[in-house]
């Protein structure tokens, strides 16, 4: 490891492998500079271009798994490019809704674009890390930006509460993660994933099971907190409620996708799929998350809080998928991609009307179907998709997850999951019923008064949700391809 005179060529090659990350880093710095020189109105465009460029470079860079960069710190092959592209996409989609939302609320906080880029950078660092140190640094980069998003509207009490709550609890969870890493390093003497999976380290782990379980358990606590799984979900509704709505959508999608990928990779590398004890902990957490999220969501009177609880429930489905090993990873990635589309859509559209229909109370949405029919139809489409009603993409996502779980022989958890998602249908439909079947009064416009950019974003998302529901293979095939490379690489390891 300490081979000192390393070659410059090696460094250049590593930098080339992590080029998509460097693009984001450069873009973040550029955004701050542009802001300083008073070019604030170009910032969303520059950020969007950076996301597109970075995702494009990553997508074309595909390589077999095991292409490591910077002394085994980052994985840049296998699923890494696809995950990176997905994460950039979640940032890009958020941008569609973000600047309009800030304008409407008269908060032209231009630092938010640089932070958004840094957040995606952190997510990608965490998801594609090949070393526990890197996982932690990625998680911190991401979390730091998300804490700021939560506290962004600093004159509002709810936002203050959200920021403080998320920051304190998040730091607490990070400390757990770090302690877990320290314990695992303590027994194995390494934080590198490949070394952790090497035979001699596995032997050490087996002889030091007690410490390993405590360490792995703490790792799980830290990561499960970030995806708001059951015993660690309490922050979710309050934080999402206080966060600017489009950014809440970003929090619920991008950060969760990154954490799930990191969790899945860790479970692979630490051989948790063979370890029934740790696997059953994850499984139990997923069942409780689904049940709790769905039941509590059905009692919410506020659409934003309802979506927050529903995001807890969705975390449960994905965690269940993760228990199903290889095919579960595939289903998980596919589901998170779909979830990114529909959830950013739902939160984004909610943000579009938040100014005119304040507080996102369900009561205020009475008769939305008559006041703004086109808007209501599009919003219902996202809700139908979140509920998992057939021709839409959300159904395909759930289908993949439950099929993967059933194939793994976990029939009972799958049945619980399906029952829980039926409860979920109730509260999504309730919003639709309130929008269309309760009288309000006069018609005002087809669409709420929003500028063109968020409307375009919503339209794109609607099309994507429809198309991917009918042709899921468009996304599923590249994921399968990238993952089959992963399975070959891990097959070499014992």
């Amino acid at each position: 490891m300490n081979s000192f005179p390393f070659s410059i060529a090696e460094l250049a090659l590593s930098s080339q492998y992590v080029l998509p990350l460097l693009i984001l880093l450069g873009a973040g710095l550029l955004l701050m500079l542009l802001d300083a020189f008073g070019a604030a109105k170009f910032l969303p465009w520059v950020a969007g271009a950076a996301f597109l460029l970075s995702a494009g470079v990553a997508w074309t860079q595909g390589a077999p798994a095991g292409r490591l960069a910077f002394f085994g710190m980052m994985e840049t092959g296998g699923i890494a490019p696809i995950v990176h592209a997905f994460l950039c996409l979640s940032g890009l989609l958020t941008l569609f809704f973000l600047s309009d939302y800030l304008d409407r609320h008269d908060r032209h906080i231009s630092d938010v674009y640089a932070l958004l880029v840094f957040a995606v950078l952190g997510m990608s660092l965490m998801a594609n890390a090949h070393d526990l140190i890197m996982t932690f640094i990625g998680l911190e980069t991401m979390s730091m930006c998300l804490y700021i998003f939560a506290a962004l509207f600093k004159t509002e009490l709810k936002s203050n509460e959200a920021g403080l709550k998320y920051f304190l609890l998040g730091s607490f969870a990070s400390a757990f993660l770090l302690y877990g890493i320290a314990l695992i390093y303590g027994i194995t003497g390494t934080t590198n994933f490949s070394l952790l999976a090497s035979p001699e380290r596995i032997e050490i782990i087996q002889s030091q099971q007690t410490v390993f379980y405590v360490g792995a358990g703490m790792l799980l606590v830290g990561l499960l907190f970030k995806v708001s799984a059951f015993p660690f979900h309490f922050w979710t509704p309050d934080v999402y409620e206080g966060t600017p709505t489009p950014l809440a959508g970003f929090m619920a999608t991008g950060s969760k996708m990154a954490t799930f990928v990191a969790l899945g990779t860790l479970m692979h590398q630490l051989d948790m799929f063979q370890n029934t004890k740790l696997l059953s902990v994850v499984g139990l957490a997923s069942l409780l998350t689904m049940i709790y999220g769905n039941i509590v969501a059905s009692r919410q009177q506020n659409i934003k809080r309802m979506l927050a609880y529903s995001s807890i429930a969705h975390s449960g489905y994905v965690l269940l998928g993760l228990c199903a090993s290889q095919s579960g990873m595939e289903a998980m990635l596919f589901y998170m991609f779909i979830y990114t589309l529909m959830n950013i859509g739902a939160f984004g559209m909610l943000g579009m009307v938040e100014h005119d229909y304040p507080d996102t109370e369900l009561e205020n949405w009475r008769g939305m179907g008559q006041k703004a029919p086109l808007f209501a139809v599009a919003f219902s489409l996202f809700l139908f998709s979140l509920a998992g009603i057939p021709p839409l993409a959300g159904f395909m996502g759930k289908y993949e997850i439950f099929i993967a779980v059933i194939r793994e022989g976990l029939l009972l958890p799958a049945i619980v999951g399906i029952l829980a998602s039926i409860v979920g249908v109730y509260y999504y439909l309730r919003v639709i019923v309130v929008m269309f079947f309760s009288k309000s009064g006069e018609t005002s416009a087809l669409l709420p008064s929003a500028s063109r950019i968020p409307l375009a974003g919503a339209a794109i998302l609607v099309v994507l949700v429809l198309v991917l529901g009918i042709f899921p293979s468009l996304i599923l095939n590249p994921i399968t391809q990238a993952l089959s490379g992963l399975s070959q690489a891990t097959a070499v390891l014992p």
């Binding site: 490891m1 300490n2 081979s3 000192f4 390393f6 460094l11 590593s14 992590v18 880093l25 973040g28 701050m32 960069a69 910077f70 002394f71 085994g72 710190m73 980052m74 008269d106 908060r107 032209h108 906080i109 630092d111 938010v112 640089a114 932070l115 840094f118 957040a119 950078l121 952190g122 660092l125 070393d131 140190i133 890197m134 640094i137 990625g138 911190e140 980069t141 730091m144 930006c145 804490y147 700021i148 506290a151 962004l152 600093k154 920021g163 314990l183 390093y185 303590g186 027994i187 194995t188 003497g189 390494t190 050490i204 002889s207 030091q208 007690t210 410490v211 379980y213 405590v214």
Partner: protein, 168 residues
Amino acid sequence: MVEIILFWLFSILGIAGAVGLIFNRNPIYAALSLIINFFSIAGLYLSLRAEFLAVIQILVYAGAIMVLFLFVIMLLNLQTEEKAEKFDAKRGIAFLFGLAFAAEMIYALRSFASEGQTPLAAQFDYGQVEPIGRSLMTSFLFPFEMISVVLLAALIGAIVVARKHTYT
């Protein structure tokens, strides 16, 4: 022998400092007991032959960060909490969980010690400046650089939250 005596001294001082931090009603006293904790941890680092870490611990934590803490406490002019907080069910549960967690850690770490393996981390000279600088510039180059993004984001965050904003 001296090492063992020092170890117990520093550990007991460290734990006492941490307990003092939590139970002191006066924020200044709490901050000062945190300094005791920082110093004794630096002592533990020294006994592990991690000299660089010990120096940094004192310079950064006991020095810079504590001064900042004290400044903030004095500027905010916090009062001593007058009423002792009630010991309700929530606190009781939290206390039980804390105890259970401590027991778990003691159990796990004892099992680690009893099996008598030298931790791999103790097998190379990680304490001096040179090996640390070497590994920061080679194997840990990328994370080392990426930490600057965390710091930058934190910096922006502090400015966003703290500045007087006119939302121009």
